[in-house]
């Protein structure tokens, strides 16, 4: 943890700021949400890393997808993700967003969330413990440091792809495209 | 040399000549009142300067007062004569197109008689002669009220007749009592003999006169005939009744009280009576839906106001009362004439039938509005100086009673304003329910000319009241100085 190194702050304040001020928007899609309260409250206290929950996507830069994603909840997830200011990071929680998990053959569950929005990191497990969340956060720090947490850039570049996938499963979307892609 | 006798003789004579003209041509008939009253107007205006210097006395048949019948054309008499002639003249123009029923000559005869009677009342110096003219006035107005001959007008006429006849009987009784005591009928002579009204023998005639004339002057509670009669008469006659007849009744009453009896002690009572009349008239008018009844009740209120002002019995008070009288004559005639024609067009006397009239008949509605504002006493119309003078007269007395009464009067003014403004709003700001006849219907010229002339007078005198105040002041002094009157009639 290089939070107290002033030199680094002066060198790249943006990156450091993003690292140590992760305002999390957690999306209570499934059972994973039950792990969030201990994470942010007295027992494990996420705030010491600068991770605090915020109320709206406008103020957040970390998006936690906590648990399986049904078709119905996909729409709000996309909407919230698009409303977040950049740079923004996404972390999938548990196995369900990764590959469907125990809902692998459900007709109504999204199996591969990263087809619809870019995901910067996954936390495996069913469910992951709070410690796993902190591990994910520290990993995210290194990714940010290396500039590899660039899901938002991918989204911008391949918006055409994501939008197509989204529309394939959700039908026509109510909102206009976020980026005016040349291919569209 | 103009003679006041002409004022009575010419219309009286012409009245009975009307049928003969009718033999020549039916169309001429309606011009007879026009001619007669025009003549009256000219004569009375000619008399005016002379009268202001000194009252003109005419002894009929050469008898010197107190023996013969004499005419006394003082300022107040001439003032009334001018008013009667003016309003009568304008209403006769109005009648050209307004009166279309087949019995036209009867209308014109009775109309001329009515005005003759009114003129006679104000000019005569003899109490019995006054009674006779008064009866001419009354009888012709009974018949004119019944002129339409329909259900309501006959009913009103009968009621008017019964009350009026009773009132006349009381007057006659009073005359008899006075004559029995003093053996004379000349007002100046009688006045010279009456020193105080304290004794019952003097007091009873006074009371009889007050009651008798009060019926015609529509003092509360003697005024029950008025709303009926005024609302069911033809509008031209309503204008004359409201503008002239009740004022003449008031004149007779005031003349009797001031000149004949010099009864200053009863004035407080009359003043209270005036205020009560005012309040009751305005309150009743406030609740009316029928426009002509509303105007009629408003007349009651105005009479009460005049009675109040005249009863203050100071120079200010009488001037104010007479000014109010003039303004009411002009204003109320205007209102009746304008309302009459709008009723004629809309076919209903209900206020709601006036809605949208401001668009259909703009000039008439404008005149009505100005008349209403004037009656309420808004400047720059004639009602305002009258109100101002009355307030001034009342406050001049510096007594608590007057201050309290003036507040009641002003309350009544506000109520009056409320119902007049309601009509004005109906004229201009309510959409007509019947959307078919939205077209403008300008009234014929014979209707508009009298309305415009009256409007003109209202505005001009309202801006320049000095036009009549001088006359009013000398009228007031004539009424107040009883001794001068006696002296001038019987040197």
């Amino acid at each position: 943890m290089d939070r107290n190194k002033l030199g680094k702050w002066l060198q790249s304040p943006g990156k450091m700021g993003q690292k140590y001020s992760l305002h999390a928007l957690y999306f209570c899609t499934g059972c994973g949400i039950i792990e969030i309260p201990p994470t942010i409250t007295a027992r494990w206290d996420a705030e010491r890393f600068g991770v605090i929950p915020v109320a709206t996507p406008r103020q957040a830069n970390l998006f936690l997808i906590t648990g399986y994603v049904s078709v119905k909840t996909l729409r709000p997830i996309i909407r919230s993700y698009e409303q977040m200011p950049e740079p923004k990071f996404t972390v999938g929680f548990g196995s369900c967003p990764i590959n469907g998990g125990m809902y692998w053959d459900s007709y109504n569950t999204i199996k591969h969330l990263d087809k619809y929005i870019p995901i910067d990191g996954w936390i495996a497990g069913c469910m992951p413990r709070p410690e796993a969340v902190f591990v994910a956060v520290t990993h995210l720090w290194t990714l940010i440091d290396k500039g590899m947490a660039d899901g938002y850039k991918k989204y911008r570049e391949d918006y055409h792809y994501y939008r197509e996938n989204q529309e394939k499963i959700l039908g026509k979307l109510e909102w206009p495209p976020l980026f005016s892609s040349k291919k569209m | 040399m103009v003679n006041p006798v002409l004022l009575i003789v010419i219309p009286l004579g012409l009245a009975f000549v009307v049928p003969f003209f009718g033999f020549i041509s039916k169309k001429i008939e309606k011009f007879i009142p026009f001619v007669a009253l025009f003549f009256n107007l000219i004569v009375s205006l000619r008399l005016f300067p002379r009268v202001l210097e000194q009252p003109v006395h005419v002894s009929i048949g050469g008898f010197v007062p107190p023996f013969g019948i004499n005419l006394v054309a003082g300022p107040i008499g001439i003032l009334f004569t001018v008013l009667i002639a003016l309003v009568g003249f304008l209403v006769s123009i109005y009648a050209f197109d307004y009166i279309k029923e087949k019995d036209q000559e009867k209308y014109h005869i009775l109309y001329l008689l009515l005005l003759t009677g009114a003129t006679g009342v104000v000019l005569t110096g003899d109490i019995f002669n006054l009674f006779v003219f008064f009866e001419i006035l009354c009888i012709s107005s009974y018949s004119l009220v019944a002129y339409f001959g329909d259900k309501t007008s006959i009913e009103s006429a009968v009621k008017y007749l019964i009350q009026g006849a009773l009132g006349s009987c009381l007057i006659l009784m009073g005359i008899g009592l006075l004559y029995g005591q003093f053996g004379t009928l000349n007002m100046a002579d009688l006045a010279g003999n009456i020193k105080s009204v304290h004794s019952v023998s003097i007091f009873v005639p006074l009371v009889l006169f007050i009651t008798g004339f009060g019926v015609e002057a529509a003092i509360f509670p003697l005024n029950a005939w008025l709303p009926d009669a005024h609302s069911s008469a033809p509008s031209s006659i309503s204008a004359v009744l409201s503008g002239i007849a009740i004022e003449v009744g008031l004149y007779a009453m005031i003349r009797v009280v001031f000149t004949l009896f010099g009864a200053s002690s009863i004035l407080t009572f009359l003043m209270l009576l005036g205020v009560i009349t005012l309040l009751i008239g305005e309150l009743c008018a406030f609740c009316q839906e029928n426009i002509k009844r509303m105007l009629a009740y408003s007349s009651i209120g105005q009479i009460g106001l005049m009675l109040f002002a005249l009863s203050i019995a100071s120079s200010y008070g009488i001037t104010g009362g007479l000014f109010q009288l003039v303004s009411h004559t002009l204003g109320k005639s205007l209102l009746f004439l304008a309302a009459g024609y709008m009723i004629y067009r809309s076919g209903s006397m209900n206020i709601s039938s006036f809605e949208g009239m401001g668009k259909r008949m703009p000039y008439t509605a404008l005149a009505f509005t100005i008349g209403a504002f004037s009656i309420v006493g808004l400047p720059p119309f004639i009602g305002f100086p009258g109100k101002l003078m009355i307030v001034k007269a009342a406050l001049f007395e510096q007594e608590m009673l007057y201050t309290v009464l003036i507040f009641f009067i002003l309350l009544a003014t506000v109520i009056e304003g409320a119902y007049y403004f309601r009509v004005v709003q109906a004229l201009y700001f309510k959409e007509e329910k019947n959307t078919q006849n939205q077209k403008r219907e300008i009234a014929p010229l014979s209707i508009l000319i009298p309305i415009f002339i009256l409007t003109g007078f209202i505005v001009v005198i309202g801006i320049y009241p000095k036009l009549i105040t001088d006359v009013l002041v000398s009228s007031a002094s004539e009424l107040l100085n009883r001794a001068d009157y006696i002296k001038s009639v019987m040197p």
Partner: protein, 298 residues
């Protein structure tokens, strides 16, 4: 002379920003300690602001931008009216009444900005903001009037100077009452529990700030820091004898603030009606009593 004033202004603004942000960080730290947590570093608000300035942001229109600028400038202007020891650049421009009015600008700006965001929750937040302000202004006005009537001046500099002669305001009975009332309403002014109705993240998703992201949120945070400083500084100036020296001044503010934080940590939240009722009952009564005593004794 002019340079002096400019220097004063810069010092005051910087000091206020530092103290305000320090208080914000401190509040998070202290809250954490009360919760038996480790808590973020004291500088966490600064880190947040640095991050927020490096983020993109969404704007809803010109007024959305203007509102936040207006709000922040309003707060900064209020600073210039408050004496910080000898420093008070705008001391001759209207005194306490102007402060009262200038304190309006900040919420008005936020409200306008949030209004253009066209989010109904923003409107709810704004509505609550104004209602709560109306709730605490009633006792606040009484308090300020008590002070002004007691010292018979409207200039806050004079009030501070007179306290140097006669001792702290707290030593006089009527002003003691109003001081207590002021402490009671301070949480409402600072948007702390039990009056944390306006942002209420769990309930109306941070209310007027709902559409703020990036630099908007950064400016709003700075504004909040200034607001903390202003409210505490006003209290200190009026009741605790102002700034004899800066350190002492800071200490006074800190003590008051920590008391508030303890209250904040252990209380739940009022509903808006309850808040108004509370504010119009106890603080208002105390302040009213103070004002009556002052106006009777002259």
């Amino acid at each position: 002379m002019v340079m002096n004033t400019i220097l004063e202004i810069i010092i005051i603004i910087l000091l206020a920003a530092i103290i305000g942000l320090f208080f914000l960080g401190l509040s998070r730290k202290i809250m954490a300690r009360i919760h038996w947590r480790y808590g973020p570093p004291i500088a966490q608000p600064v880190i947040d602001i640095i991050k927020l300035f490096n983020q993109t942001s969404m704007s809803h229109g010109k007024l959305f931008n203007f509102g936040i600028i207006f709000s922040l400038s309003g707060s900064v202007v209020v600073l210039l009216f408050l004496p910080l020891g000898e420093m008070c650049p705008l001391s001759s421009s209207g005194g306490l009444l102007v402060i009262l009015y200038c304190m309006l600008i900040a919420p008005l700006g936020l409200a306008l900005s949030g209004g253009e965001a066209a989010n109904p929750i923003t409107s709810i937040g704004i509505s609550r903001k104004f209602l709560l302000a109306f709730g605490y202004e009633l006792p606040l006005l009484l308090i300020l009037l008590t002070v002004m009537t007691h010292f018979n001046t409207i200039s806050i500099v004079d009030i501070v100077n007179m306290q140097l002669q006669t001792g702290w305001s707290f030593q006089h009975l009527p002003l003691l009452l109003s001081g207590i009332a002021y402490i009671l309403i301070l949480p409402a002014i600072l948007d702390l529990r039990p009056f944390e109705l306006i942002q209420a993240p769990q309930e109306i998703s941070s209310g007027p700030m709902i559409e703020y992201g990036g630099k908007f949120l950064a400016l709003a945070t700075i504004q909040h820091a200034f607001n903390v400083f202003i409210s505490l500084s006003l209290f200190t100036n009026l009741f605790l004898g102002g700034a004899e020296n800066p350190g002492y001044f800071f200490l006074k503010m800190l003590i008051v603030f920590i008391i508030l934080l303890f209250v904040n940590a252990v209380t739940p939240r009022f509903r808006i009606e309850q808040a108004i009722k509370f504010l119009w009952r106890w603080p208002a009564l105390l302040a009213f009593a103070g004002l009556i005593i002052v106006s009777v004794t002259g």
